[in-house]
Structure formats: structure tokens, C-alpha cells
């Protein structure tokens, strides 16, 4: 999996008089690891929704590699390698992990519309799905319905589903949100083990995590890019300190 570049040019969105995205210019080089931080309500999830096509922008463009994807449907963007995970688990409660990831693989491989062949004959796809689960240490509970999995495992399954789409650019929305301290290590190991070529943008509140993983930080406040730069630059920036009232440990 090699990464692609992701860029936004002048991205804007308002809901009535509420401006949630204000002229956002971003450029993520291939293989970058960018953290998106900011106070609650700054518009971070909205930005991900705009980039992935779940919300239509009022202005601006989104570029994946050389291609302008602004007019594409969300599933088309996924097919071109732009995938996201959700802050709140958006999983299939009654499907088990194997079925869920296999479904994602089937969609990517294009045989999800097949209705006259048994799912079990698609050996390669099933093994691919299983391998992803093994890598994320979900294999031993992969036959249990998703709703029976502990919360931390469900967060890992969020990531597994995203990986099944073989993304070139991956947007992680608070991957460890709500996960207890003891388990969040698993999540970040999973993130760390992701291919170095993959372009990554993750929303995070825990500054330790941010400083550990990010090569570059974007600070979003009130729907606009407040500051961006290397971790050293951002931590030294007095305006950022002011916005956050000191280094934040956990949201």
C-alpha cells in the first residue's frame, strides 16, 4: 500500500449562519502522518465528512493525488483509496468481525453483488480478511457478533474495516475515543504498524499520542486552520497554548 497526496483548496461549508469550514487549505504529502487537533466544535469531524463526501461543501476543491474528487460519491472516493474511520463506532451489530471485514474486501474486489455463488468459495478474499484481523489481534473473537465485542475491540474493528479497503489515504477520527487507558495501547500499536507509505490524517485529543506519531500538526479552531507546523513548532507556539489553556492530556 503506497500513499497518495491529499489536498484541499479553499474548502468551505456553512449550515445557515454557522460557518463550520472556512477556506481550508491543506496539503498532505504521500506517507505523511498529520494530526488534526483543536477544541471541541472546531469542525474536525466536519472536515473529514467534507473530504470523504458525506457532506457537500459550499465551495472549494478536494484533490486525491492528481485527481479532483470533489464531485465524486463517497464510495467512489473509497475505491480510489480514500478511507475514514468513525469517531463513534459505526459497525454492523449482528455481523461478526470476519463477515464484516470480508464484506469490505468483497466490495473492493467487486464481487459483493454476486448472488448465485456461496460466499465460502471466495478463499482468497476470506483469507485476506482473516489476515487483517490477525494483524489487529482480533482473530480469536472474529466469529462473535460485533455487538458482543468489548468496546476496545470494536474500535480495532473500525480500523480493520478501513484497512480492508486498501487505502492510500486514511483518515482516523479519534481512533482511541472512549477506550480505557489499558487498552488504548493496542489501538496505537495498530496505527503505528500501518505501512509507512500510507498517508495518514488523524484527529486526536491526547497530545502525548500526537507528539509520538505525528510528523506535522494542524490546529483547527472555529472551522479555520489556526496554525500548522511540526510538533516542535506547534508546542512552542504561544497562540496555540492560549487556545488550549496549556498542554492537554486527555479530552
Amino acid at each position: 500500500m503506497s500513499g497518495a497526496t491529499l489536498a484541499t483548496r479553499g474548502l468551505a461549508k456553512n449550515f445557515g449562519s454557522l460557518v463550520v469550514a472556512r477556506d481550508i487549505e491543506l496539503t498532505l504529502p504521500a506517507g505523511a502522518r498529520y494530526a488534526l487537533i483543536g477544541p471541541n466544535g472546531a469542525g474536525k469531524t466536519t472536515l473529514i465528512n467534507l473530504i470523504t463526501g458525506m457532506v457537500a461543501p459550499d465551495g472549494g476543491r478536494i484533490l486525491l493525488g492528481d485527481e479532483d474528487i470533489t464531485a465524486l460519491e463517497p464510495q467512489e472516493r473509497v475505491r480510489r483509496g480514500l478511507t475514514r474511520t468513525f469517531q463513534i463506532n459505526t459497525l454492523f451489530p449482528k455481523l461478526n468481525a470476519l463477515e464484516a471485514v470480508t464484506l469490505a474486501v468483497a466490495e473492493r474486489r467487486g464481487f459483493a453483488g454476486q448472488f448465485w455463488k456461496d460466499l465460502a468459495i471466495y478463499k482468497e478474499a476470506i483469507e485476506e480478511a482473516h489476515d487483517i484481523l490477525v494483524r489487529l489481534r482480533l482473530a480469536d473473537s472474529c466469529y462473535r457478533p460485533t455487538r458482543e465485542l468489548p468496546y476496545g475491540r470494536q474500535r480495532l474493528l473500525e480500523i480493520a474495516l478501513a484497512l480492508a479497503t486498501r487505502p492510500k489515504v486514511l483518515l482516523l477520527d479519534e481512533p482511541a475515543a472512549g477506550v480505557p487507558q489499558e487498552e488504548s495501547g493496542d489501538i496505537f500499536e495498530a496505527v503505528a504498524s500501518l505501512s509507512g507509505d500510507l498517508t495518514l490524517l488523524f484527529i486526536e485529543h491526547d497530545m502525548h499520542v500526537v507528539f509520538r506519531f505525528a510528523t506535522h500538526i494542524i490546529v483547527l479552531v472555529g472551522g479555520a486552520v489556526f496554525a500548522q507546523g511540526s510538533p516542535a513548532e506547534i508546542s512552542a507556539d504561544p497562540r496555540v497554548r492560549e487556545v488550549y489553556l496549556g498542554t492537554r492530556k486527555h479530552a
Binding site: 464484506l103 469490505a104 468483497a106 453483488g113 474495516l161
Partner: protein, 329 residues
């Protein structure tokens, strides 16, 4: 849940999900019993088989796809009238008539699927209801085509495949209906265990996640809706052919509502739910037929309330819960 041993591969596990369970074989053998033990009830048996097929068709979109349709009888009725018209004006051989009815119902299903796939929740329910009522009105008004409230006149059904004549006792009718049900059941069983079946369940479980894994839910929904329309149309055609009548009842809201009740009673999304529900519903209605309709409404109403409040997965769901609890001991 199937028990998993440590040497089984994930592929083995998935294969085990679609394996035939001995109880299924018992069920299908039991469907042959009316031939020998209840020869006086063969016409009821073929009605049950037809209702079961209709409920199975609804299960595809409702049980597996999560689409609540209150107008599914539109396709049942279209199939019935198509088969009737085909027998009168083209040829009387029933199996070819089934194909003709399937085609007409399929086209209707495909056309309406463009509308259906774009909506959800209350709007979708209203649109399915509206389409169903519209079809009912058209059938009522188009006397020249359907016979209106007098019913279709002049159905001429020949022997099945040129060999099996429809007899007065109903042996051929039940055999024909049962065989069709079984064949389509096998097809549905395969569909449910296919990648497409998994995609439908994904749509039912969490529609919003589907585009996020690269899926286009609309295309899947349209496909499922068309397939369900074809099957419902075949069920309607069977009714017209085995009873030699096609009437407004077949396209009525009553029939749309009854099939939802049957499916939910047995348990939606469980393949056999519609079949079990049809058996129970039709036998119960037959027993109640002498009594005033109010009593029927009372018990059906009570049943629906009970199912929703206490048995959300229908009878099959309740049974499987009991079984699971028993196994845990």
C-alpha cells in the same frame, strides 16, 4: 452459532454457515405429508405454499435488506394478472406462464426500485404503501384488462409441462406449488449465503457504513427489490393458475399487510421465518373462517402486540433464543 474447532479455517467456518441442518430436511419431508395424511386439505396446502413463497420474497427485502414494504402485493397481483392474461391470450401451459409472469413482475419491480432505493424510514413506508394502493386502483379501474371487481374471466390452464393435469382434489396443484416453492427456496438460500446476501445484511445493519467501505447501497437495494418482485410475481401466478381465478384481492392492501404479519410472526431474516409464519397464519385463518371477522382481528392484533413486545425476532427467533440458552447450560 456453530461451534468452532481450532483447526478449522475461516473458510470452513463460513462454509459451515450454509450447510444443511437436519431439521431443514425434516421440514421439507414434512411438506410431503399432506399428500398422504391430509388429502382433503390439499387446496389449503397449496394456498400455504403460495403464501410461503410470497413471504419468502418479502424476507429478501425486509428481513435481509431492512426495507419495510406495505405494498408488496403489487407484484403478487401483477404476477397473478399477468399469468391469467398469458393463459387466455398466449398459451395455457403453466410453467411458461410462470416465466412470463416473472418477467412482467420483474420489470415492474425494477422500475419501482429506482424510486424505492432513494428513500428511507417513514417516506419509504409511505411510498411503498402509495405504490401498492395505486396498483390496486389501476387494477380496479382497468376493467378491460383485469375484469375489475368481477375478477378476470377466461383463464385457461393446461396440464403442467403437458403431463400433469390439474385434478379436482388438488394433487397437481399442491405438487406444482410445492415444487416451485422448493426450487425458489433453494435459490433464495443460495442468495442469502452469497456475498450479495452479506451485503444486504450490511445495509440492514448499518446503512451509513456501506459507502464508507466502498459499497453502493442503492445498486444492491435495487437488485434485491427486483429479485423480490420476481418471486412475488411467481407466487401470484401460481395462485391464478392453481385456482383459475385472478381477482382484486391478489393486489390488495390486505394481502400486503397479511404477508408482513406472516413474515414477522415466523421471524424475519431467518429464511424459514416466512415459511413457518405462512403455515401458522393460513391454518389459523382457515380455522377462524367460520367465525366473525372481528375475532380474527382481535387475535391477530394481540399476536402482533405480543410479537413486538415479547418476541421481537418472531417465533423462530424465540425458539433459537431458547435453544441457545439451553445449550449454555
Amino acid at each position: 452459532m456453530t461451534s468452532v474447532d481450532s483447526t478449522a479455517t475461516p473458510q470452513d467456518y463460513l462454509r459451515s454457515l450454509s450447510r444443511w441442518h437436519p431439521i431443514e430436511i425434516v421440514f421439507w419431508l414434512a411438506t410431503l405429508v399432506p399428500f398422504f395424511l391430509f388429502p382433503d386439505y390439499l387446496s389449503l396446502a397449496s394456498q400455504i405454499a403460495i403464501a410461503a413463497l410470497f413471504a419468502l420474497s418479502l424476507d429478501i427485502i425486509l428481513g435481509y435488506g431492512g426495507i419495510v414494504s406495505l405494498g408488496h402485493a403489487a407484484f403478487f397481483g401483477i404476477g397473478a394478472y399477468a399469468a391469467a392474461i398469458f393463459s387466455k391470450f398466449v398459451m395455457g401451459e403453466p410453467v411458461i406462464g410462470l416465466f412470463a409472469a416473472a418477467l412482467v413482475a420483474g420489470i415492474a419491480g425494477f422500475a419501482s426500485s429506482f424510486i424505492i432505493a432513494r428513500f428511507r424510514h417513514f417516506t419509504l413506508i409511505m411510498i411503498t404503501l402509495g405504490l401498492g394502493l395505486l396498483m390496486q386502483e389501476i387494477a380496479n379501474r382497468a376493467h378491460w384488462l383485469t375484469g375489475g371487481s368481477d375478477g378476470f374471466q377466461g383463464i385457461d390452464i393446461r396440464p403442467v409441462l403437458g403431463i400433469f393435469r390439474f385434478d379436482l382434489y388438488g394433487y397437481t396443484a399442491y405438487g406444482y406449488a410445492l415444487a416451485t416453492l422448493f426450487v425458489l427456496f433453494l435459490a433464495t438460500r443460495r442468495l442469502v449465503n452469497s456475498p450479495f446476501g452479506l451485503a444486504l445484511r450490511g445495509i440492514r445493519e448499518r446503512l451509513v457504513r456501506m459507502p464508507a467501505i466502498g459499497a453502493a447501497p442503492r445498486a444492491h437495494i435495487q437488485k434485491a427489490y427486483t429479485i423480490a418482485a420476481v418471486m412475488a410475481g411467481i407466487a401470484g401466478a401460481l395462485l391464478a393458475q392453481t385456482t383459475q381465478t385472478a381477482a382484486l384481492e391478489s393486489i390488495s392492501f390486505q394481502r400486503s399487510a397479511d404477508v408482513v404479519v406472516m413474515l414477522v410472526l415466523g421471524g424475519a431474516g431467518r429464511l424459514y421465518g416466512g415459511l413457518i409464519g405462512a403455515v401458522i397464519f393460513m391454518i389459523a385463518r382457515d380455522q377462524f373462517s367460520g367465525i366473525a371477522p372481528q375475532f380474527w382481528y382481535f387475535w391477530i392484533g394481540l399476536l402482533l402486540i405480543t410479537v413486538v413486545m415479547l418476541l421481537p425476532n418472531g417465533i423462530l427467533g424465540g425458539l433459537s433464543d431458547i435453544y441457545a440458552r439451553w445449550r449454555r447450560k
